[in-house]
Every structure is written in structure tokens, then in C-alpha cells.
């Protein structure tokens, strides 16, 4: 195949870096509200009927939404194999926690209302809470660690060796990042509940949503200040070929300086944090003014801004190494081969638009609020 020579290796790498961002944002915008609803479930819905209402707002869509996460994993594997190898084996116990929580969730949705017993249902409600809260927290904690650099090194055979433990992940900065993640996803879940449910559930969700939006603003601002003041950045110290071979050890990297230097270098990226703040502020207004559609959009804007700001600030770094900076994974030296990136791009160009079209169609078919009536009338078939 020679076709792939028509797109530069360097360009393909940037495209796949951007697509990685698109997938993460796609995951946060869709499955993000499922996680948020799970986290809010025990608090916004008290009776069985209320809980079933809340669950059924995400009932028909969580399965498709979750594929963003699976696809994210697959795309990291295919486009950034060293990232897949280093991060998943390094964050070993954290990954296990996420998997356990995410396995609980589908089962919780599907099985909860299949028995009448109160203990059965309440147990699954807590399972759904864990299935929402734990991944939301751990994703944020992981990002917080990535920003600081992760204690791994690559041997000459490119075998990743991770030298930190599980509890090392739970450092103060990472926990703050975890709070950003929980706040924004709870905001998103609340916006969805207000949009798709009614009555007491929607009222309580509105209140939680306002708090969560404020918390998003506060924690995100704090994390930003801390990043500027107290977190070391990473930078190349020598020349690096953007279309060079994918061997991270071939470039020299040093720790030091501030991530905020990126904003001097590429001032336009300030768009991302502005979106983050503006979106959350608009969400507060939207919740208050009972503009449900607007709130949903505002929440999406904020989440997009928050996730994009991390990627844009770190570019071209993807996963810096704190103990051996030369092992750091960057856009220029940890991708798949030229041909693989091209093949993957072709399949993404074919299938991504199709996915967006049919997903939109499904949401359109399901348009409208889930009411208590709906749940009672279809008690046998809904969750």
C-alpha cells in the first residue's frame, strides 16, 4: 500500500492526537451524564418510582454511550500502543477499580428492576452509585497524575517498568483533579436529569446541578492555579523529528518550567479554559432560569473546555515520566506506524459520521421526558 504516503506521518500523528481528544470528550459528553446520574441516584431519587424514573432517563442510551469508552481504549491501543502499554499496566489497581465499577453498572441497570425485593433494588442502587462515582473520580485522578508525570521508565527493549504504587496515585493534586472530574460529571448528570425527568427528581437535580456547577468552577480554577504555581512541566531539550520513528528513548526530555508556558507559545489555546468557565457559569444560569436545553449545552461546553485544556496545555506531551524524563511519551515518538495510523484514519472517516448520524436518530426517537406514568405503564419492560 502506498496510499498512506499521501498523508504525512507528522500530520497523521496530530490528527490521531486530536481524535484521541475527540473520543475522550465524546465519552465525557455522553457516558458522562450516565456516570453523573449514577452518582446522583441515591440523592435525587428517594422512592422506588423516582429511582426508576431517574434510571430510565439513561436506560435506553447508556449502552451506546459506553462504547465511547471502549472505543477510546481500542483507539489508544491502535494509535498509541506505548501509551496503552504504559498507562494501563502502570495504573494497574486503579484500572481494576474502574473495570469493576463499570462492570457493576450495566448489570445494575439491567437487573435492578427484574426482582421486586426492596433489598435487591436498594443494593443495585448503591452499585449504580459506585459505578458512577468511582470511574468519575478515578478518571480525574489519572489525569491529575499525568499532568505531574508518572513514575515509569522504559528499558532498552521498550519494556515499561512502573515504579510507583497505587497509593502514590492518590496525591493531593491528583485528588483535586478527581474532584474537578466528579463535579463536572455531576453537573452534567444533573443537567440531563432536569432535561429528561420531571417533578421532585428534576427539582432536586436542579439544586445539585447548581452546586456542582459552582464546584466545577472553583475546583477547576484551583487546579489551574496550582498547575501554574506548583507543578513542573516537561520539555524537549534537543531536536526532535515529528515524523521520526516511534521510540521514546531517542529524544531528550527534561523536567522543569511551567505548563503555562504553552499559553505564551500558543495564545489561542486560552479558548479552552474560557469555554470551561463560561460553560459552567452559563449552566448555573440555565439551571436557575429553567432553560433545560441551554443548561445541557452549557454543561457540554464546559466539559469540552476542561478536557481540551489539559491536552492543549501538554501538547506534544501525552504521558511524561517523572523518574526518567527521556522515557516520556509524546505525540512525535509514541504512535503507531505511518500505515496503521492511515488505515485507522480511513476507518474513522468512514464510520464516525455514520455513528454520529444514527446516534442522533436514536436520541431523536427517544426525545421527550420520562414520566412516572411511563414507568408505571411499562413496568415489565423498562428498567
Amino acid at each position: 500500500m502506498i496510499l498512506h504516503e499521501f498523508v504525512d506521518f507528522e500530520v497523521l500523528r496530530v490528527i490521531w492526537w486530536a481524535l484521541l481528544g475527540v473520543l475522550l470528550i465524546g465519552f465525557a459528553l455522553t457516558d458522562g451524564f450516565d456516570l453523573g446520574v449514577g452518582t446522583l441516584l441515591p440523592f435525587v431519587a428517594r422512592t422506588d418510582l423516582e429511582r426508576r424514573m431517574a434510571i430510565n432517563t439513561v436506560g435506553p442510551v447508556w449502552e451506546g454511550n459506553q462504547v465511547w469508552f471502549i472505543l477510546g481504549g481500542g483507539a489508544i491501543f491502535a494509535a498509541w500502543p506505548p501509551l496503552y502499554a504504559v498507562s494501563f499496566s502502570g495504573f494497574y489497581m486503579a484500572m481494576f477499580l474502574i473495570l469493576a465499577a463499570l462492570i457493576l453498572r450495566p448489570v445494575g441497570f439491567k437487573y435492578r428492576s427484574k426482582r421486586e425485593s426492596e433489598t435487591w433494588r436498594s443494593a443495585w442502587d448503591w452499585a449504580l452509585f459506585v459505578g458512577g462515582f468511582v470511574p468519575a473520580l478515578v478518571f480525574g485522578v489519572a489525569v491529575g497524575n499525568v499532568l505531574q508525570g508518572v513514575p515509569f521508565r522504559l528499558t532498552e527493549d521498550l519494556m515499561p517498568i512502573y515504579e510507583g504504587g497505587f497509593f502514590g496515585l492518590l496525591n493531593p493534586y491528583a485528588l483535586l483533579a478527581g474532584l474537578v472530574s466528579v463535579s463536572m460529571l455531576v453537573m452534567h448528570g444533573a443537567a440531563w436529569l432536569v432535561f429528561k425527568s420531571e417533578g421532585l427528581v428534576a427539582d432536586r437535580a436542579r439544586e445539585f446541578g447548581i452546586y456542582a456547577a459552582f464546584a466545577t468552577i472553583a475546583t477547576y480554577a484551583l487546579a489551574g492555579l496550582w498547575l501554574a504555581a506548583g507543578v513542573d512541566a516537561y520539555a524537549f531539550t534537543g531536536a526532535v523529528a515529528p515524523d521520526g520513528p516511534s521510540n521514546p528513548l531517542m529524544s531528550d526530555v527534561a523536567r522543569g518550567g511551567s505548563w503555562m508556558a504553552a499559553y505564551a507559545e500558543r495564545p489561542w489555546i486560552v479558548v479552552a479554559p474560557v469555554m470551561a468557565f463560561l460553560g459552567a457559569a452559563l449552566a448555573v444560569l440555565g439551571f436557575r432560569a429553567r432553560k433545560e436545553g441551554l443548561t445541557m449545552l452549557a454543561s457540554k461546553l464546559s466539559i469540552t473546555g476542561i478536557i481540551a485544556s489539559v491536552g492543549l496545555t501538554m501538547f506534544p506531551f501525552i504521558l511524561p515520566s517523572s523518574i526518567d524524563p527521556n522515557s516520556s511519551l509524546t505525540v512525535w515518538d509514541s504512535s503507531s506506524s505511518h500505515l496503521t495510523l492511515f488505515v485507522m484514519l480511513v476507518s474513522a472517516v468512514i464510520f464516525m459520521p455514520l455513528i454520529l448520524v444514527y446516534t442522533a436518530w436514536v436520541y431523536k426517537v427517544l426525545w421527550g421526558k420520562v414520566t412516572a406514568r411511563d414507568v408505571m405503564d411499562n413496568s415489565d419492560s423498562v428498567y
Partner: protein, 532 residues
């Protein structure tokens, strides 16, 4: 037995993958059966077919969700437990996994919600299309996963790059149309269809025994028997295709499955039963069918099939070649980007055998320093566990032929004996329910255990593929998965049984109304006849 990190990681993969595959075959097959039933409903408009669709879809849903949940683990554990593998072959192996998500899993998962929640929100035809999309998505999913697995069995379209220390793709076309992958895909999907057919047959038979839901049960048996018969035939025929393709790509696996220690004069006999003995290097008490293996494996009477002992000798030669390749690789690395074309050419001459040098890493850090004894040991390691493979294969094949018999019996009874089934046959159908799962797990065991000591055949040894983790970490997650999965399994079985006991939701008034209209139409036709 002391468990090291390699053994534990293998155990964990085997456990999570085999557990995942308890749900996959039923998803593959039942999605199609439900779609067929719904199509009949759309075409005939008879309420019974919608009730059937909804009933089997409920059971499909209970099963599907665990397939999805356990599939999450599959997508992520390569990176968690097999980091070096992920680095080494991610350039090829990752692509089919990602395309699976893009092309198949998104389709399946997005529409499965509508399939359950959308009955009142769209027209009958649209809903039927949605159900088909779920079935198509599930089956495409299997295609891409088997392309990934097929590459591990027969790594085509890729070459080792000494600068990036990994395999890189040279032809996506070769990876996608890998004959091993294609044969495996059709074999696996057909096995899924058989599994679902046996399941539908068994549950319906139980209803007939209990005298419940007879209309639903009889129609379900009719669908399951015809679909199941076609699939059971296809499983055996395409399983043979799988075996035939192994003749050329995985000679050692085939020799082990056959307990074939020495190279026979062509055509080789097939051993019906026997007791492979590794120490004695022979298969004791063998009952053989002459000529059969040669015919099946080579489709000729003259081509020889190499035995295990000869293959070990071959492996020894390849290890020696691999050491040359390894030496050239180290030279290229020492040159730090200034490798001469001669160095590269020297490496490429033997690079196909590089993986064989890695087999020595179990015994010595630098393969170049290996003793003759160690080389002999590494060559010996290329023999997988012959005894379990020999029997797992025979269990699978035996059950495969049994399915043809069962399906044929019910097909004939359903079509030519007015749907009358002897009571013993109904009980037999009930007790047959677990058998397709046994066959499927045995089949995967042959495929994966038979590939040992490699994760990617001839390219990367299993012992080298693992992550740098502590035994405690892997033991902890293994224990976690075992506990967690056991609980989920009990819950799932409980719900399955509850919903099978409960039976279909029958809308009596609707059925009666339909029957009235139907009778009116019939009598209307008879009263009109004289007028014509």
C-alpha cells in the same frame, strides 16, 4: 505448583476470556433468531410471533448485558497484564480492536436500547430493522475480534522494525483477509448459532414437557431446528476448514491435537481415542482410522504431515537462526541510529526467526550466551500440552456431530411428523442445553492453549509478553475477578431461570381479537367464493 507472574497472568486471561465467552455465543445466535422471529411477525402480522420475539429478546437481554460487561475487561486487560505484548504488536493487533468498536460495537450497543425501549416509538418495520442492526452489529463484532485473534495464530502482513523494537504492519489487506481469521470467523459465528438454537430448543422442550405455552414452544422449535441444523452443518464443515488452514500455519498445534509424535508416511491416520504420553513420546492405546487425518489435514494422499519430534528439530534450527538475528539487532542498537545498510540486511535475513531467540530468555538473559542444552530445552518448550489438547479437541468434535444429530431429529419431527416429539427427546433437548458451551470453551482452549508457548505464533513468546507487575498485584485482581464474576454468574442464572419459569407475556385479548379477525377473513373468503 508455584505460580509466577506469567502463569498468573495466563490464568487471569483464560478465566476472564472463557467467562466472557459464556455469553458471547448466545448473543451471536439469539440476536439472529430474535430478528428472524420478528421478521415473521412483520410479514404475517400474527401476535404470537411478536410475543415470541419479546420473550426471547428478554432472555437475550439478560445474557447480552453480561457479555458487554465482561467484554470491557477484555478490551483493557491486554494493556494491564500484557504490556510488552501491547507494545510489541499493538501496531497490528490494536487496529482490528478499534475498528470493531467503530464498525460493530457502536452499532450493536446504540440500537440495543431502542430494541428494548422502542416498541411504541416506531413502526413495526423500523423496529424490525433495529433488531437486525443489533444482530448484524454483534456478528461484525465477532469478525474483527477474530481478525485480531487470527493474526496471533498466523501473523501475516507485518514485519519487525529494529528501531522501534516492535512488529509493524506492512499490509492491512493481508491482516484482514488472513485465511486463518476468515475460517475462524465463520466457524465461531456458526457455533454461536448452534448454541442459541440448542438453547431455544431446550427451553421450548421444557415448556412442552410442562404443557405450557405450547404455541410459542412449537414455533420456537421449528425456527431453532431449521436454523440450528444449517448452523451445525456449517460448524463442522468450517471447523474442518480451520483445521486445514492450521496444517500450513500451525503445524505444531495440529500435531499436538493429533498426538502425532512421529511423522507418518502420507496419508496419516486419525486417532479416534488414545492417551498421549509426553515422557514416552507416544500416544498409547490409540484407536486409529487409517488415511483419515492425511485426507482432512492436507486434502491429499501424498502430502506428509510432520510429527512433533521433527517439528522440535525444526524449532532448534530456527532458534539458532534467531540468535543470529538477535546478534544483528544488538549491533544495530549499539550503532545508535547510524546502522549501516549491511547491518540492516544482515538482520533482515534472519529476522523472521527473531522470536525463536526470545524463547531462550526464559533460561538466559542474553540469548547469544545460551548453551546447547538451553537451546534444546527451548526447542522442547515449543511443544504445547499434548494430552489436554488431544482430548479437548475430541470433546469439541464429538459434540459438533451430536448437534447435527439433535437438530436433524427435531427438524424431521417438526416438518414431517406434525410437530409430535417423543417425551424422551424433549428431556434430551433440555439436558443438552449446556453442551454447546462445553464445545465452545473446548474449542477456544484448543486454539489458545495450542498456540503456547507463543502469544503470537513464532513471533513473541508468552513468557515475554507480560507486564512488569508483582505477583501480589496480579493475584489480587485475579481473586477479585473470580469473586466478582462468580457472583454475577449466580445472579444471571437466577434471573434467567426466573424469566424462563415466568414464561412469555401473553396478551390474551389481543390474540383472541386477532383470531376473530383471522376467522372472519377466512369465512368471508368462503362466503365470497360462490359469488365469484
Amino acid at each position: 505448583m508455584e505460580l509466577d507472574i506469567v502463569e498468573l497472568s495466563r490464568l487471569q486471561f483464560a478465566m476472564t476470556a472463557m467467562f466472557h465467552f459464556l455469553f458471547v455465543p448466545l448473543t451471536l445466535g439469539l440476536s439472529v433468531i430474535v430478528a428472524i422471529m420478528e421478521t415473521v411477525y412483520v410479514m404475517t402480522n400474527r401476535p404470537i410471533w411478536r410475543q415470541m420475539t419479546k420473550f426471547w429478546a428478554t432472555l437475550f437481554g439478560i445474557n447480552f448485558v453480561l457479555g458487554v460487561a465482561t467484554g470491557i475487561t477484555m478490551e483493557f486487560q491486554f494493556g494491564m497484564n500484557w504490556a510488552y505484548y501491547s507494545h510489541y504488536v499493538g501496531d497490528i493487533f490494536g487496529a482490528p480492536l478499534a475498528i470493531e468498536g467503530l464498525m460493530a460495537f457502536f452499532l450493536e450497543a446504540t440500537f440495543v436500547g431502542l430494541m428494548f425501549f422502542g416498541w411504541d416509538k416506531m413502526s413495526k418495520v423500523t423496529h424490525c430493522v433495529v433488531t437486525w442492526l443489533v444482530a448484524i452489529g454483534s456478528n461484525f463484532s465477532a469478525l474483527w475480534i477474530l481478525i485480531a485473534n487470527g493474526w496471533m495464530q498466523n501473523p501475516v502482513g507485518a514485519v519487525f522494525n529494529p528501531v522501534t523494537m516492535r512488529m509493524e504492519m506492512t499490509s492491512f489487506f493481508d491482516v484482514m483477509f488472513n485465511h486463518v481469521a476468515q475460517a475462524k470467523f465463520v466457524h465461531t459465528v456458526s457455533a454461536g448459532y448452534v448454541t442459541a438454537s440448542v438453547f431455544v430448543l431446550g427451553v421450548s422442550a421444557w415448556y412442552l414437557i410442562k404443557g405450557r405455552h405450547e404455541a410459542l414452544a412449537r414455533r420456537s422449535i421449528a425456527v431453532a431446528a431449521s436454523f440450528g441444523l444449517a448452523s451445525a452443518l456449517s460448524v463442522v464443515v468450517l471447523g474442518d476448514e480451520s483445521g486445514y488452514s492450521a496444517t500450513h500455519s500451525q503445524k505444531m498445534k495440529l500435531a499436538a491435537v493429533e498426538g502425532m509424535w512421529e511423522t507418518y508416511e502420507a496419508p496419516a491416520p486419525f486417532k479416534l481415542v488414545g492417551l498421549p504420553d509426553r515422557e514416552a513420546r507416544e500416544t498409547k492405546y490409540a484407536v486409529q482410522i487409517p488415511v483419515a487425518m492425511g485426507l482432512l489435514g492436507t486434502r491429499s494422499l501424498t502430502e506428509e504431515m510432520p510429527g512433533i519430534n521433527d517439528l522440535v528439530k525444526e524449532a532448534e534450527v530456527r532458534i539458532l537462526n534467531g540468535i543470529v538475528a538477535y546478534d544483528a539487532l544488538m549491533e544495530i542498537r549499539a550503532a545508535k541510529g547510524a546502522a549501516t545498510p549491511e547491518m540492516i540486511a544482515g538482520f533482515e535475513e534472519h529476522s523472521a526467526d527473531l522470536g525463536y531467540a526470545f524463547l531462550l530468555k526464559r533460561y538466559v538473559d542474553d540469548p547469544r550466551e545460551a548453551t546447547t542444552e538451553q537451546i534444546a530445552m527451548a526447542a522442547e518448550d515449543t511443544i504445547p500440552g499434548v494430552l489436554p489438547l488431544f482430548w479437548a479437541f475430541r470433546v469439541m468434535v464429538g459434540l459438533g456431530f451430536m448437534f447435527i444429530g439433535v437438530m436433524l431429529f427435531f427438524f424431521i419431527r417438526a416438518n414431517f411428523y406434525g410437530m409430535r416429539f417423543p417425551r424422551w427427546s424433549l428431556w434430551a433437548a433440555v439436558f443438552a442445553i449446556p453442551t454447546p458451551w462445553i464445545a465452545a470453551e473446548a474449542g477456544w482452549f484448543v486454539a489458545e492453549f495450542g498456540r503456547q508457548p507463543w502469544t503470537v505464533d513464532g513471533v513473541l513468546p508468552t513468557a515475554l509478553s507480560v507486564s512488569h507487575l508483582s505477583v501480589t498485584q496480579v493475584a489480587l485482581t485475579l481473586a477479585g475477578f473470580v469473586t466478582f464474576y462468580s457472583i454475577l454468574f449466580i445472579i444471571e442464572m437466577g434471573l434467567m431461570i426466573k424469566y424462563i419459569r415466568k414464561g412469555p407475556f401473553m396478551d390474551v385479548s389481543e390474540t383472541e381479537a386477532w383470531n376473530r379477525r383471522h376467522n372472519d377473513r377466512l369465512s368471508g373468503r368462503t362466503s365470497q367464493q360462490p359469488a365469484e
